[in-house]
Symmetry: C2
Subunit: 218 residues, 2 copies
C-alpha cells in the first residue's frame, strides 16, 4: 500500500509517519519509483507497536528505538534480551553498579527468588519499599504473604502467554508489562471500593443505578 | 518541642516546615510567646504524611491539602470520604459526567462488581483497557480470570487492615493505595524475571552470585 493508505489504515498523520521513518523507528517501504514506496501489513503492526511504546508507555524516541532494536535483533540469550527491553520501561531507576538493596534483598529472599542487583526492578522495589516504610505502612510479613503469591500467579500467567518466536516475545514482554500495569492498578482500586462498600455497608446504595449482575463475596 | 527540634526529628528543613505552615498543610503549634510555638508528636506524624503525599505520591500542594482536609474532617459517610480522597491520587483522569465506559463496565460486570462511572478509577480502567487493546494484548477472559481473583485477594487484605478511626482510615487508604502500587509493580516485574529464568532455563546461571535460599516452584 502507499503511504497515504498507511495513514488511513493506522489513523496516524503523514507527518508523524515521516518522523518515524526519519528516526529509524519504522523501516522504509519498498521503493517502487524515485518518489514512491510500498508498505505492507508489517508496517501497520509496527506502527501500532511504536504508538504503544511512545504514547501508552510514554517512552522517549531514543528509548523506543532501543526497544525496537531488541525486537528486531534479539540476542542469543532471550532472557538477557527481555531483561534489557524491560529495563527501558519507566520508572527509570538507575541503580549504581556496586550498590546493595537491603530491603529488596530481604523481600526476594523471603519469596525464594533470585536477588540480582543488576535487575532494574530491584532498585525500583528498594525505592518503593523505602517509601512504604517512611509512610508508616511497610511491606511486613503478613502483607508480603498475600501480595507475593497473588502477584506470582499473575506473573505465571503473563510469562505462560509469551510467544515462542523471539521478536514477538520481546514485543509481548515489553507491551504486556507496561500496558497491563495500569490495568492492574485500576482493578485494585476498584476492588478496594467494592470490598469497602460491602464491609462498610455504605456507598453502594448511593451509587445511582449501578449494575451488579451477580454479587460475589469471598 | 520547638520548631528547631522538629527540624531535627523529621529531617525536614526549617524553610520547608514554614512553607507547610503557611500553606495550611501543617497545623500551627501552640503559641508560648509572641515568637515561639510548641509542637508535639502529632506534628511529627503529620510531617511524615505530608512528605509521603507530596514526595512519594507526588501530589501538588493543592491536592495534598484536599486529602489532608478529608483526613482532618472526614464526612459522615466514610465510604464517600475514602472515595474522594483516593480520587485525588494520580493518575488523574477527569471523567466526564454523563460518559459511559463500555470496556470498564464489561470487565466489572464479569467480576460481579458495581459499575459506577463516578468512581475515578472507572475512567482509569477504561483508558488502560483501551491502551491494552490497541497494543494488541487486550484483557481477555482468560487473563481476567487470573488477574481478577488475585487482585481481589490483595484488595481484601488491604481493606481488612484499615483502621477503625476515620482520620486514620483515610490516611491508611490514601497512603496504602499509593505507596503499595509501585511495590506491586516491582514485585510483578521481578516475578516475571524469576518465572522466565526458570522456564527459559537461562539467565539465572549468569546472574553472578544470586542468593536463592529456598527455590520455590509453583
Amino acid at each position: 500500500m502507499r503511504i497515504s493508505e498507511l495513514v488511513e489504515r493506522t489513523g496516524v498523520p503523514l507527518a508523524t509517519l515521516k518522523f518515524y521513518l526519519r528516526e529509524g523507528l519504522l523501516p522504509a517501504g519498498e521503493a517502487t519509483s524515485a518518489t514512491r514506496a510500498e508498505y505492507g501489513e508489517a508496517h501497520v503492526r509496527r506502527i501500532a507497536v511504536i504508538r504503544a511504546l511512545t504514547e501508552t508507555v510514554g517512552l522517549s524516541v531514543q528509548k523506543a528505538r532501543e526497544v525496537l532494536q531488541l525486537m528486531d535483533r534479539p540476542e542469543d540469550d532471550l532472557f538477557e534480551t527481555l531483561g534489557k527491553a524491560i529495563a527501558a520501561l519507566p520508572p527509570s531507576v538507575t541503580p549504581e553498579a556496586a550498590e546493595d538493596y537491603p530491603r529488596a534483598r530481604e523481600v526476594l529472599e523471603k519469596l525464594g527468588q533470585v536477588y540480582d542487583p543488576r535487575f532494574a526492578a530491584v532498585a525500583q522495589l528498594e525505592l518503593a519499599l523505602a517509601a512504604a516504610e517512611s509512610a508508616g505502612i511497610p511491606l511486613d510479613d503478613r502483607r508480603l504473604a498475600v501480595y507475593g503469591p497473588n502477584i506470582r500467579a499473575i506473573a505465571e500467567f503473563d510469562v505462560g502467554s509469551i510467544p515462542r518466536e523471539a521478536t514477538a516475545a520481546v514485543e509481548y514482554a515489553v507491551l504486556g508489562t507496561a500496558v497491563h500495569e495500569p490495568v492492574l492498578i485500576a482493578l485494585r482500586r476498584l476492588a478496594h471500593q467494592d470490598v469497602a462498600a460491602r464491609r462498610l455497608g455504605q456507598g453502594s446504595a448511593k451509587a445511582g443505578a449501578p449494575t451488579r449482575p451477580r454479587p460475589k463475596g469471598r
